[in-house]
Homo-oligomer: 393 residues x 4
């Protein structure tokens, strides 16, 4: 693969929520960061020509394709950005890697461990030819999260005893909220566990630099039937009942206990039923030397307790992670000028493009994505078996 | 039993931390509340005559005894207030009940389920003679907690989906913190689980009006040996090793998942290793109609999300539970003048004395205490078996 | 004056809100602190025999008097505790001092500067005979406030640039709230300014160790007429109009700018119209080396920004001022067990009794109270003159 | 003026902090919002050809000019976006308006009232020809601020009694921070007052829908001399002293009291010396029916106290202003996905472009900018005169 001059030509598959977030990242990253390669938003692919054309115009892509196969077949594309639902990740990503394209794949890596394993194998093979791959756990790139990892790595937290993580949303707490594809196991693979639980598994492992060894958990579906969405009563074949309702086939919520290999005790919870919590990714780390606390609903802030402070003046510090010496921040605004949700995607592009240019393997790798998948699979298995399940090292 | 005029003559066993808290309650309750019986702080019992005499003078008790047996034997005592470590609760409480004395017993009710069952039997028997008993889960009497229960009972939270509770302390995060009686299973029965986990089991069941049906959990002891306390190298016989260190025989932390009978999914955590958290009892309830959040480190506040508010103005309300229409508050200060830790004990005396005068059974009863004990025992069993354990209804 | 053995015999005048708060302090202080003299709650005075008798029974006073003159005349009384409205402070306190009684006088010291000056003169004269006097700015004795002062004194805040203080309440935001004595200038002397503004003047001067040199401000009365209280249409003679409404003769709110002698710029606000704020005493200090922030609605917490922390981990520390090394806390409960409103009164008794026993002058002195009064008078004058007003050094 | 098809061709003057913020807005607004005209980033002007060329490449402008005059002279430019320091605003904006270009001018509108008056006159004249002008108070376009205004307008706050606003930064609290152009009165016009105080004047007037009638205030310069910046010892001619230090000629901080025409009492403070506060725009509104509180350091949140809630459940609601029914939010991400600092600029472009296309006058107008300027001038005058100063209606 050659780079046209020093650009990186990107083709994106899918243009919904994630497609919009990725587009802004490709668009804005080179405006703030000195990138070694200039991303070119070459093409976006989608099945419906009218819709994909409109999306390209709106999101700023130069051309369109109506199949991902056609996109991958194009010689002028260096990187495939996979923004489709999870059930298509494996097929697209593997084909792209085999075609010698770098791949950025949205999380979760795949809907099953088996698919994820095949993707890792493809990534390993492609890597030998200098082809890079990355899975899109963008929350790692929130500056406050990066700072958290730095503090752990620097020993400021000490030996970690407790990891406490919740991802709380409430968007289907109303039992009359319609059945979307995200509530269909065939499409989404998993419910709250895979969609949002995946993030807190990745984030806690990233921050601690440790991995989960064993889990026991429980998946819950509080509302078992929901109205079918007005526009597509036939979209979820086989699930519609006489009254226009369909079965929810994924979990509404998941909770699990975990042991990390390093000895920490973990408590995790992911739910779409936490009334009043909109996107609360809450992470707390308690160690022998200090503690950390983070909430995505106040995402520019990291709370840090430094156990080395004298006891009369010790207290959780509310660090506004907008200083130039916080990760990624120097490229943005002066202190106290907050970043938002999409900046994590922009930072993801920065890191990915930099690694590709330097011939480095980006993180999180497909193998990292597979490991998260294995944790989620173990949680699901434990919910069925009511026993602890180990995750292979 | 007769009341001397309209007083209630109290004899207290033990005068350490809990003894001080109970003494202030007996002293102050009648100064703020119209009690139907006037508590008389008649006698305090302790083994060391000099120490108990000093304690009586400081805490305001009229006389002393050097054995609890002598205290119970006194005709002028109407109520025995048990403030000793958990391993003595059963013996003292049962003897007192058999002697026709009302009993207020500190939590945990006992160190084992068997002891607690014997206490419940004794309480049931005594009850037939008008003798009352109560276990001291005082946090129920924090006004913000009382308000939480009222909101659930009034249906403002709807069907409860999630119960999330943590009791976080950090007082032994330093591995060189000495081995106290609270770290000795023989004396304390349990570690974080029994000492502080008991509170969040009781509180969540109290607020929700529901009970825990089944649990799976894990107990952890992060620091397995600690220096023996300077003054009593022989106090914990058999545990001292050659270097003056002793074994920690209780849990430093416990975490467990739970199903409530009403369908809620519970996630619980109790630890003495949450660096920077001093006494953080954090409870969150998410229901179909609203949510609640509480943290004892800001104990006068209840956060309430009312799902009935229109979406543009909905948000967690920070209710300062110091209004006259909040539980117990009318007896105290004007709005915005905070109550503290000990007020829960004062309210406990108010409720207990009122119930005794009215011939009602106080809550939480010994049976309630036993039920909490059974949950804790099930958690401990699940930690050993790595399987879910049911709690008898 | 002689002490009966080692007791300090107290006589209190008034038994309403402040009388209750003071009573609990006299009752509880010796139960937690080792006091060099034992307070004896000898007598309480009030004009109505039935009411004062009931109050004595409830609050725990041994005897009653129906005039403050009779109380002062008693040989067995060592200290007069003045808990009446401000218009009577001067007369009672001066008489008590002249009778050789120590005096604790509630704030504000007096309703006018002239009265306060007379009280200071009386206090100075009595002092020569070993008679002590103190004005009751109890908020100084909140541990978090004491810690704030310590941090300033230790240089941790550096040169102070900004003092920002608000005392926000909302108890008369409803225009139909009745006309109480606190809204009558003849009785109360002042409205929000004198009642609650006095506290933030005292607190900021106490924390900074500095005094206010000059001010300009504005007093506002948003609701100029209110319904007369049902029980006493004649109680506020001359103010009732035909429709049973009376004139509000004090300020609802006051705001002022100030220069401290040390160079800090001060911004102050006191109001009874801050809807939703119940007792929010909010103080912020910004200095060259650090900053402090406090809110009485979360009174156990002091926020401290340490400018010496490295910029990546600097942030306001939420210090829970319940550690044994925080002021007064060692006598109370373990870390994380909160204190409440009344503890400040208890600490006031501790300090006052200790100073009396040691022959020291307690703080804040009557002279300190006068200085606060002068600041308030200057604010009031500036509101009329629309010009800055100096406060004599 | 004609639009090339349906584009709006933009020429920007200046490319520093504000230029970067405006560029991203022009770039991103059409990607999220359906704009009636498509902005074209035609040209950017700056004096140094090399630097402006680099800026154009980085920020995404099609061409460059080395003088603003040349930019204005171009026929293909429809709108001039003025992002230079305040001392050049009047000249550029007036020339642009006279050339028939729409103008977006950064705040403060000008460095003096006189300049601002001339700009308003030019804007009024141009308006007759359909030429639009707007001043860039972007914080109005933060969704939480928009919601605040809506709640006031809907009567949810009632009659406003208190307006409390602070703009707190700390970037020059270090006395060794160098002398930048922002500390030079000739260039910047004003210090904290004009730079950041302008925002809270505009915001509070915008939210309340009311204007300030009279003020008294004080400006402070805590550090009167600072080291000259290394690169430009001659940049601030005439201010360098022998030791390489220069005089600070603007205010470090400003505080003032205000009366709003509608009767509210205002308290304002703007400072660059609030150690630990990075960009804390804090606004509180207290009214007869409710209250609002906002802090830009948590800019997605509006706190709302609804006085109509029953007293047992009333409390400040923490509204996360990320719902689709909050201003501007529907175009962005799902609930709970936060927006950042630059989104206000994007919304500004949306509103400006929409108004131009519809032939409406955008707000805030130059007249609004002048009115803010008059308030600032009155504060400055009051600081000199020590008297209240009126602002013409």
């Amino acid at each position: 693969m050659t780079f046209e001059h020093d650009t990186l030509s990107v083709g994106m598959v899918g243009y919904a929520f994630m497609g919009a977030a990725h587009s802004q990242a490709w668009r804005n990253a080179p405006r703030y960061f000195d990138l070694p390669l200039r991303p070119r938003m070459s093409a976006v692919a989608g099945r419906d020509q009218a819709k994909v054309t409109a999306a390209a115009a709106r999101l700023g892509w130069e051309s369109t394709e109506t199949s991902w196969q056609a996109l991958i077949a194009r010689d002028d594309i260096d990187l495939i950005d996979v923004c489709t639902p999870g059930d298509t990740h494996a097929e697209i990503a593997i084909a792209a890697l085999e075609a010698g394209k770098h791949v950025l794949c949205e999380k979760p890596l795949a809907n099953t461990v088996e698919e994820a394993e095949a993707m890792v194998a493809a990534a390993e093979k492609a890597r030998a030819n200098g082809v890079r791959s990355m899975v899109g756990f963008t929350y790692r790139r929130v500056p406050a999260i990066g700072l958290a990892r730095q503090l752990v790595a620097a020993g400021r937290i000490g030996t970690i005893h407790h990891v406490r993580a919740q991802y709380l949303q409430d968007w289907i707490v109303d039992p009359e909220a319609p059945l979307s594809w995200r509530l269909d196991k065939a499409k989404a693979g998993s419910g709250a566990l895979g969609d949002i639980g995946a993030h807190i598994v990745d984030l806690t492992q990233y921050i601690t630099g440790d991995t989960i060894a064993t889990v026991t958990g429980r998946l819950e579906t509080f509302v078992k039937e929901r109205p079918l969405p007005a526009e597509s009563h036939t979209g979820l074949s086989g699930t519609a009942d006489a009254t226009g309702r369909g079965e929810v086939t994924v979990d509404d919520a998941a909770a699990f206990l975990a042991h990390f290999r390093g000895g920490a005790l973990g408590v995790f919870e992911a739910t779409r039923f936490a009334n009043g919590r909109k996107n609360a990714i809450r992470i707390e780390i308690n160690g022998s030397r200090g503690s950390l606390a983070f909430d995505f609903e106040d995402m520019n802030v990291l709370h840090f307790f430094d156990g080395d402070d004298d006891s009369a003046t010790a207290g959780f510090r509310r660090i506004l992670a907008t200083e130039p010496d916080h990760p990624y921040v120097a490229a943005w605004w002066p202190p106290g000028h907050l970043l938002g949700y999409e900046h994590g995607f922009t930072h993801q592009v920065v890191d990915l493009v930099t690694d590709i240019a330097k011939g480095l393997d980006p993180a999180p790798s497909f193998a990292d994505g597979l490991q998260v998948q294995r944790v989620l699979a173990a949680v699901e298995a434990s919910s069925l078996s009511s026993a602890w399940q180990d995750i292979p090292a």
